[in-house]
């Protein structure tokens, strides 16, 4: 177990190093001069040069890369070009929206998907199963931002139950903040819930067909107990894999949903920073996203060993 953790951690570090290099190189070739964007179309060449110098953009690429990585190692994410404030503060601010949003979405998604998937599999081709199949087919086909737009039209504009977007901040109290996050979280969760439901259903069906389930039933265990004790724990393993992949998707999918709902989250910060060519912010956010995906995968791997005792004895 310890060996697994160490080997995983070192490969994590190497991956992050490669990711940082890739991000830096991509941004180098991406067209767009942050100085010209800041100073607009009426600024003179000497002013642009002054700003480039102030931002350190006139220095060689290698030095800039080393500066960035060096800063990261000291926990310094740098200063945003447009906002003129530490990226760490910006990210922390935005994280306070994106993290609760993603967690809420995961919660909604799993709370919907697991029971529905298992219920559908328990009575294959029954009315529940058919309904679940239709629902999930629809959910897989419809993109989250479009669901978001429909939600705004119906729940906010028509019924007035929710704000049409924006975020009052946690300072306004938990109630209003959650109210602002609920619609986007559901919009984010539904397509993922659909995928997860299908995976849960097929994983459960596969286990139901296995020999040990027949044995359990043969020794007199009832349907319910068999499901709970033998089927669901085994079906959880493929479901965890998908959930792990989805965790990173929630983070990334937040970009679209945050834009539709005008939420000041990390995704929208990334989008704005890209438009403004705030290179410092983009680099950091992409690295944070990548780091997050890598860490989640690592945790999922650990999760297998907890869920599946067979892996533990092997490791």
């Amino acid at each position: 177990m310890l060996r697994l953790v160490i080997s995983r951690l070192s490969s994590l570090a190497v991956t992050l190093l490669f990711v940082s290099l890739a991000i830096f190189l991509i941004l180098e070739v991406l067209p767009g001069d942050p100085a010209a964007i800041m100073l607009g179309t009426a600024a003179r060449e000497d002013t642009l040069a002054a700003l480039r110098q102030e931002l350190g953009l006139d220095r060689p690429a290698l030095l800039r890369y080393l500066d960035w990585v060096g800063g990261l190692l000291h926990g310094d994410l740098g200063t945003s070009i447009t906002y003129k404030m530490p990226v760490s503060t910006l990210v922390a601010e935005r994280m306070s929206v994106t993290l609760p949003l993603s967690l809420l979405a995961i919660l909604i998604s799993t709370a919907l998907a697991l029971p529905l998937g298992v219920a559908a599999a328990a009575r294959r081709d029954g009315p529940v199963d058919r309904a679940v199949l239709v629902f999930s087919q629809l959910g897989v086909a419809v993109p989250n931002f479009w669901i978001g737009l429909l939600f705004i039209l119906f729940f906010s504009t028509r019924l007035g139950w929710f704000p049409a977007g924006g975020f009052p901040g946690w300072g306004a109290g938990i109630g209003p903040a959650l109210q602002a996050l609920l619609l986007p979280a559901v919009a984010l969760a539904l397509p993922q819930a659909a995928v997860l439901t299908r995976v849960t259903r097929s994983a459960t069906l596969e286990v139901i067909g296995a020999d040990f389930v027949r044995t359990a039933r043969a020794k007199g265990l009832d349907r319910r107990a068999t499901l709970r004790r033998h089927v669901v724990p085994n079906a959880l393993i493929p479901v965890t894999t998908i959930l792990g992949l989805q965790l990173s998707f929630f983070f990334g999918g937040a970009i679209l949903v945050e834009n539709v709902f005008n939420l000041p989250g990390l995704g929208r910060l990334a989008y704005q920073a890209l438009n403004q060519r705030d290179l410092v912010v983009i680099k950091d956010i992409v690295l944070i996203f990548s780091g997050f995906v890598i860490v989640v995968n690592f945790l999922v791997d650990l999760g297998y060993t907890i869920l599946d005792p067979r892996l533990r004895s092997r490791a």
């Binding site: 009426a42 600024a43 002013t47 705004i152």
Partner: protein, 493 residues
Amino acid sequence: MSKRFLAAALLLSMSALPAFAAKTSLVVGMPIEPPGLDPTVAAPVAIREVTLANLYEGLVRIDRNGKVQPLLAKSWEISPDGLTYTFRLQEGVKFHDGSTFDSADVKFAFDRARDPKSTNAQKQIFAPIDSIETPDPSTVVIKLKETSGNFLTYLGWGDAVIVAPETAANNAANPVGTGPFKFKSWTRGDRVELVKNPDYWQKDKVKLESVTFRFISDSQAQVAAVRAGDVDAFPNLAAPELFAEFQKDSRFRAVAGNTEGETVAGLNSAKKPFDDVRVRRALMHAIDRQALIEGAYSGFGTPIGSFFSPNHPAYVDTTGIVPYDPAKAKALLAEAGYGNGLSITIKTPQMAYASRSAELISAMLAEVGVDLKIIPTEFPAKWIEEVFKNKDYDVTIVSHTEPLDIEIFARDNYYFNYKNEKFKALIADAAKTTDEKARFAKYAQAQKILAEDVPALFLFQLPKLGVWNAKLQGMWENSPIPINDVTEVSWTE
């Protein structure tokens, strides 16, 4: 406490209740969030729309009619040779951090702006300054190297607001000015909150206790926020197709004014066939500006024939110089040797007004045998790289939002690649002319030259589609400079 006293107290407190008192908070919606709150270090319009006149003040201000009015300078004298400006400053003015405003702050602010290392987006407006003297705390004497006709106007721009030496470096995140409102908080990505400045030097003018700027980029969401009352005023709505509905609704005031944004389709004059003025004129003759405005902006917006804002007193209507005339367009093209057609491209940014206009222009040019292919590009980053810097384009389309920017056509190496020595001399001359009438006459002449020479297809002035609660008074209908001045805005009930 006796019951009678209690009853009296209750009655008193009830009568003191503001049953008829007007609302004192205002929520203003904006499509774009400012990147930072310091107008002296970056160009974006959104910075000025939050901060100018609300947080920061200049020596002078530009009023809603585009006229220069005294502000931190209560009066000034200009020497007969136009080279020495003596400003008498308001006394008893304090910055939001409690420090006193005086002539040293003015000197600091302008020296900072014209320093070689300065990143002021409009540094050139300070270029004529030779020296700044402060004989006493309430007097500033600015000596110029050469006369500058628009000098006072420039001092009313966001680039010339007065900032204090102690706080200037942090203004982007924590703005400190002398304005009627103080910075309270900025929830990045969502809103900036300002509160009334209790020590403001003309506080009797200010009725509002708090102002919140909310940033809503999606046009549908903007409309929903105004309808729901989440936002009291949206001075620059990005949904022209829904604007007419507000005009019919008595709960709202909906006014289509002008911005400083000239929407033009720049032609690359260094490139064939745009080096031939006949071709440029032919393309202009092929454009039906009114039809374009109908299609691209639901009929809002003023047609322009040159590069000058209708807000400016020196504006002249030049739309008749090269009017819509497809037959003439064909004749000119034939004369220039393109009678059998011409194939060109337009680099089009993603903004709705730009892509819609490009499609309409393409259709209009097809009528005269010109095939205009649309190449999408991304504004600002990609456009600045490809078009603005590398000048790798045939035709492009953007709105230029800086005020009084006709001089860009006089610049060498600007993206239009336009070269006209006569025009250049005229603009340089106008800039130095201190007599207003003479200067305006020169600007009028300059407008006509551009209209005849067509270095860009002059299309329309971007409208300012303002919507606000009908009970609000004092909102600006036009924006002669990028600004959302809410100093004198109040609720009628």
